[in-house]
Symmetry: C2
Subunit: 173 residues, 2 copies
């Protein structure tokens, strides 16, 4: 258990249980992030925030995780931009501490839209101009190529239609 993230987590004054839990959470997010093409360090940071009931600040992360300041700073930026973590004020000091935003839905949805929908959109363009350039006129080979491109368009349309459905299904109340 905890093979992947093990090297990234430090004990640092927390008890065994807490550390083990953090480790397991981080593992989970590292696996998921890998699927979505998100950098490991970002997943580790999110996992650490997610696993902590207390809001977590920069120096907490620096202490608990084996990541450079640079990675922590950039990772935090990404996670904020994406809405995965939220700063909480009201500790008196000037340190920013974060809690996980539990609406994972929004994050995943944003990913779906930015990554898939954009590709689907430009795909439509490409296919159109591609269809215009089919060589071979009304010869047999022209007909064959036209059929192939039609297949591609067909498939593309299905994918485009599926996207909104997926977005709907993933909505979590």
């Amino acid at each position: 258990m905890g093979g992947e993230s093990a090297g990234y987590v430090r004990g640092e004054g927390r008890n065994r249980e807490q550390v083990a839990f953090e480790l397991a959470v981080i593992d989970f997010f590292v696996a998921a992030a890998d699927l979505l093409g998100v950098p490991k360090s970002v997943a580790i940071l999110y996992g650490a925030v997610f696993a902590s009931v207390e809001p977590v600040g920069f120096s907490d992360l620096e202490r608990r995780l084996q990541l450079s300041r640079g990675s922590i700073s950039q990772g935090i930026r990404v996670l904020r931009e994406v809405g995965a973590i939220k700063p909480v004020g009201g500790n008196g000091d000037r340190i920013e501490r974060f809690l996980p935003d539990m609406e994972l839905r929004k994050i995943v949805d944003r990913w779906l839209v930015e990554r898939l929908q954009r590709q689907v959109g430009t795909g439509r363009e490409r296919l159109r101009s591609l269809a215009r350039g089919i060589p071979g006129g009304r010869s047999a080979s022209g007909r064959e190529l036209r059929a192939r491109v039609r297949q591609l368009q067909n498939w593309h349309d299905k994918a485009a239609a599926a996207l909104p459905v997926v977005r709907g299904l993933l909505k979590i109340g």
Copy 2:
């Protein structure tokens, strides 16, 4: 047009139209592959086969594309394994030539199953063992963490349920 793949395509005795078409097709597949995390060279190879009415052999690819023998060999292997191209016999000579398998559906479906379904499966495991290790007993913090993990499970279940639906939607008759 054809910015990405341009460097990989050679004229080699085909006419302008044909080359331009091949280029556009390759561009399309390179973009799609990038989305699915497939190596570029594999997409290029598939594009070249897809764009040709005549079955395409190793040496054709070697001539037409700026790819090493090694990449061509391995790319062909991947594409065959995955069912994206099919060998056609009957030319008298011993050279293997390929046609694209037009059932893209199967390829995408395989990808969905291997990549997503597997992750979803192991995710369930991880979440279960994770839930068992929640620290804090029946304290307030324990309750909070339990709620968070439940959210994760909830989300995970939705994703698991969405997968078959997607597979259904993408089926192209």
